[in-house]
């Protein structure tokens, strides 16, 4: 279990306990986090689950592989150094307290 917080641009926040093994795109859509769609179900084809990871947490969310790195080029809001596709971050106890910022497309 990990307590995950999504922070929106309007200042609102959603914090949820996420079961180990679920990816954070699934956790977001299940908990009505806005702007996270995850249309491809987490198979790295849609780039609609883009988040910015609070920098201090970045290393703990794991490596960005080549496919994710490429798909991050397709996001609506331009990627930054702390961009991840949240379908590729898997909940685990090490991520307890993780904060994600949700970009809002224009």
């Amino acid at each position: 279990m990990a307590k995950i917080t999504w922070k929106m641009e309007d200042g609102s926040e959603i914090t949820v306990d996420v079961k180990d093994g679920l990816n954070l795109m699934e956790a977001a859509t299940a908990n009505n986090v806005p702007h996270i769609e995850g249309e491809c179900g987490g198979c790295l084809s849609c780039a609609t689950c883009h988040v910015f990871v609070e920098p201090e947490w970045l290393a703990r969310t794991g490596e960005v592989d080549d496919i994710e790195d490429t798909m991050l080029e397709m996001t609506d809001v331009e990627r930054e150094d702390n961009s991840r596709l949240s379908c590729q971050i898997i909940a685990s106890p090490e991520l307890d307290g993780l904060v994600l910022h949700v970009p809002e497309p224009e």
Binding site: L44, S45, T70, E73
Partner: protein
């Protein structure tokens, strides 16, 4: 009290409509009616991870069941609609209940075509693949060493063949056209997947017609080919395409043409009735088309919510699609219908390749096999109307990102 917006069909398009409706803060009441017993779920993983046993059922659901109530949406699953009465703005359930609607959104989807009963299409052990129940019925039969016959070399058949090989079944796949994926892809893409499946031990037979399925001990036991050859099989998966669920719409007098005909705001010939997803037929580049894909269902559902909220929008979304087979990720962007030539871009490894479809100088679509760069940047290249020359595409030194950005 005014009648609700009624959504008939609880799949991807419905979920997307409701999500957008909620996000826009729209005030109309929604009633979601689905024939299946489940809330909307993802179908693409059915023929992949769900059949493989790597994904629990709950993880297929696009939103958890309680989400709908949280959005103020009334849901009625396991409920079939038998009739639409546009003159009274009512739908009628199989139990004879009349339900009033203000607007009606048809997300009725499509169904898998079956082989005729006369040639064994309804024998026990013959499956089609479209729903959770289909997989739950067939999955126990996917045991190592058993013999599976796949009829049809489209994406569903190929994905199921890949899963079956991974689970250790013996697989024969029949395609009556001269190549697999003939209706949907260029020969180069067919060649890639033929090699992939043959390399994984699928007995893949193209230009091969089956005359009938054979019965033994009350269940399917094989197939007879036109050549007279008998193929043994303990189970059969029929993947010969889908047909739109238009019976309700047709009976109600809506214009249908291989799907419920809709305009560029997904509105049918009845102004208060909209249609989205697999069941909707629409005009694109002068052709009447219908798409069976998550992208199309999600984008059309989303669009209808915007239209009902008064936004001035129309459906122009660029199609995309994917398939996973063994260790190959196929990603497609654009629509290749009407292409007159293709250009091959070699990948960075033996197992990667992309096929670029052109109509004259215009780039229409890309099939990217283990080539996410061709897909991701190709999407931008198409969106930005770049139309690179064949020479640029074929040259491995071309920087696709720079091309996409017009540099």
């Amino acid at each position: 009290m005014s009648a609700p917006v009624v959504i008939v069909g609880a799949g991807q398009a419905a979920a997307s409509f409701i999500s957008r409706h909620a996000a826009l803060g729209s005030s109309e009441k929604l009633l979601l009616i689905g024939e299946e017993p489940h809330p909307p779920y993802q179908r693409p993983p059915l023929s992949k991870k769900y059949l493989l046993g790597e994904l629990e059922r709950e993880r297929l659901f696009i939103r958890p069941l309680e989400w709908y109530a949280q959005q103020g949406v009334e849901t009625r699953f396991d409920t079939r609609i038998d009739e639409i009465r546009p003159d009274r703005r009512q739908v009628v359930t199989a139990d004879g209940e009349n339900i009033d609607y203000d607007k009606l959104i048809l997300c009725t989807g499509s169904h898998a075509r079956r082989l005729p009963a006369e040639i064994g299409g309804n024998l026990p052990g013959v499956y089609t693949l479209r729903s959770i129940e289909d997989i739950d019925r067939m999955a126990p039969e996917f045991q190592a060493g058993r013999k599976l016959l796949v009829v049809g070399g489209g994406y569903i058949g190929l994905e199921a063949a890949a899963v079956a090989r991974q689970l250790g079944l013996e697989v024969t796949l029949l395609e009556m056209a001269d190549r697999i994926l003939q209706r949907v892809a260029a020969a180069e893409t067919s060649n890639y997947f033929r090699k992939l499946h043959s390399g994984h031990g699928v007995d893949l037979r193209e230009s091969t017609r089956m005359t009938r399925l054979l019965e033994g001990d009350g269940t399917v036991c094989g197939a007879e080919l036109e050549s007279g050859e008998i193929i043994d099989a303990e189970l059969v998966l029929v993947g010969i395409g889908g047909s739109p669920n238009t019976e309700l719409a047709q009976a109600a007098g809506l214009d249908c043409d291989n799907g419920i005909r809709v305009n560029d705001i997904c509105q049918s010939s009845e102004p208060d009735i909209f249609a989205a997803g697999d069941c909707a037929s629409f005009s694109r580049n002068g052709q009447q088309i219908r798409l069976e894909s998550v992208q199309n269902a999600a984008d059309q559902g989303d669009l209808i919510a915007r239209v009902l909220a008064g936004e001035d929008v129309s459906y122009t979304a660029l199609p995309w699609f994917w398939s996973d087979q063994y260790d190959c990720k196929l990603q497609i962007v654009g629509l290749n219908q009407g292409h007159d030539h293709t250009v091959i871009r070699a990948g960075t490894s033996d197992s990667s390749l992309s096929v670029w479809y052109y109509q004259g100088d215009r780039l229409l679509a890309i099939d990217a096999m283990n080539e996410p760069k061709s897909y991701a940047f190709g999407r931008k290249i198409i969106e930005n109307g770049v139309n690179p020359t064949p020479g640029q595409v074929a040259d491995p030194a071309t920087d696709l990102k720079a091309l996409a950005l017009g540099k």
